[in-house]
């Protein structure tokens, strides 16, 4: 009788240690892996293949030249206050990461000029679509000029690929 009473009165204690262990391990795991899970993509482009001794036998084709010119170079501001507070603090050498504010670019497709904003890119898309309809195999050459940043190239390359051109080349030399 006394044994049964003892069992009934016995407190069942749950050991929390393994759960805490596992929680910490999961926390560490997610902290380590989360930064790799950002979605990243890539856009294919080509460089002039016939540099040097190997000359292409193919007939020269009329290319669509797209010039990328800097309209306003913009100013460099320190990334941290600008990103968080929108506050512009002039960036100096050794200040680490920077943002470029007030940077403007213009695109020139064959002879027509376009703004570098969304409206300009929409017009470029319309123009390129017409050109693509006439000759889908036509090659496109991107010619970035001085002062251009990586952020200016991706939207135009994206538009060219979106229209359907697959032969996208970067000009061999850097334009002034």
């Amino acid at each position: 009788m006394s044994i049964i009473a003892d069992i009934a009165n016995e407190k069942i204690e749950m050991d929390m240690t393994p759960m805490i262990d596992v929680t910490f391990l999961l926390l560490i795991f997610f902290m380590c892996t989360i930064k790799f899970k950002t979605l990243e993509g890539k856009l294919a482009a080509y460089l002039p293949k016939d540099v040097g001794v190997n000359q292409s036998d193919a007939e020269p084709m009329e290319k669509i030249d797209i010039y990328i010119r800097t309209e306003k170079p913009g100013r460099r501001v320190q990334a941290a206050p600008y990103e968080k507070l929108g506050q512009e603090v002039t960036w100096n050498e050794g200040d680490g990461e920077f943002f470029i504010v007030g940077h403007e670019v213009r695109y020139q497709v064959i002879r027509d000029e376009f703004d570098g904003d969304d409206a300009g890119l929409k017009k470029i898309k319309t123009k390129l679509s017409e050109l693509h309809r006439l000759d889908p195999e036509r090659a496109v050459t991107l010619k970035p000029m001085q002062g251009v940043i990586y952020n200016d190239i991706i939207p135009i390359l994206d538009t060219v690929i979106e229209v359907g051109f697959s032969d996208v080349t970067f000009a061999g030399s850097y334009g002034k």
Partner: protein, 171 residues
């Protein structure tokens, strides 16, 4: 009486430390085997609608060059190019050596692929990753180096962030 009590007691093995160790080993191997992502520096990429999601095959060789805002170029976690302050004394020796090694490891194909004629040149893509504010002349510098007689890399991919959510809402 006492002896019989001892016999009735069951021997229980505590599995907790073993589970802990197993978890730690899983995490360890997951982190070290994901080598394809280790080549990617932390950079803020521009966004693109048409960007093809980057899902590399861990077994395949994938050459990557990262370019920071200040023009510093990193390949396989090593700085291969650091621009000088005034830009006049830039040393491209390490960059060229790195691209040469990359070129040697790439798959090769004929210059005129369809005809099967011409020299054998690299036929893999070089992934160029740059920060959105990186001056383009640094990327151009890599491209120029790719055209070197001994390197001859002509296929490149420019890294960009994907716009999956935005395109989903547009549709």
């Amino acid at each position: 009486m006492n002896l019989s009590k001892h016999h009735a007691e069951e021997m229980k093995m505590d599995m907790t430390p073993m589970i802990d160790v197993v978890f730690l080993l899983i995490i360890f191997f997951m982190l070290i085997t994901d080598m394809t992502q280790q080549d990617l520096e932390v950079l803020t990429l521009p966004k693109a609608k048409m960007a093809v999601p980057d899902e590399p095959d861990p077994k395949e060789f994938r050459p990557v060059i990262n370019i920071r805002q200040n023009g510093e170029m990193i390949s396989k976690r090593e700085v291969v190019f650091a621009p000088s302050i005034d830009g006049t004394k830039d040393d491209e020796k390490d960059l060229m050596a790195s691209l040469l090694d990359t070129s040697k490891l790439m798959k090769k194909d004929h210059f005129n692929k369809e005809a099967g004629t011409g020299d054998m040149i690299p036929d893999d893509f070089l992934l160029i990753r740059a920060d959105r504010f990186t001056p383009f002349h640094y990327i151009q510098r890599v491209m120029t180096a790719c055209g070197n007689q001994d390197i001859k890399i002509w296929k490149v991919q420019l890294a960009a962030g994907t716009l999956v959510e935005d395109t989903a809402t547009e549709n």
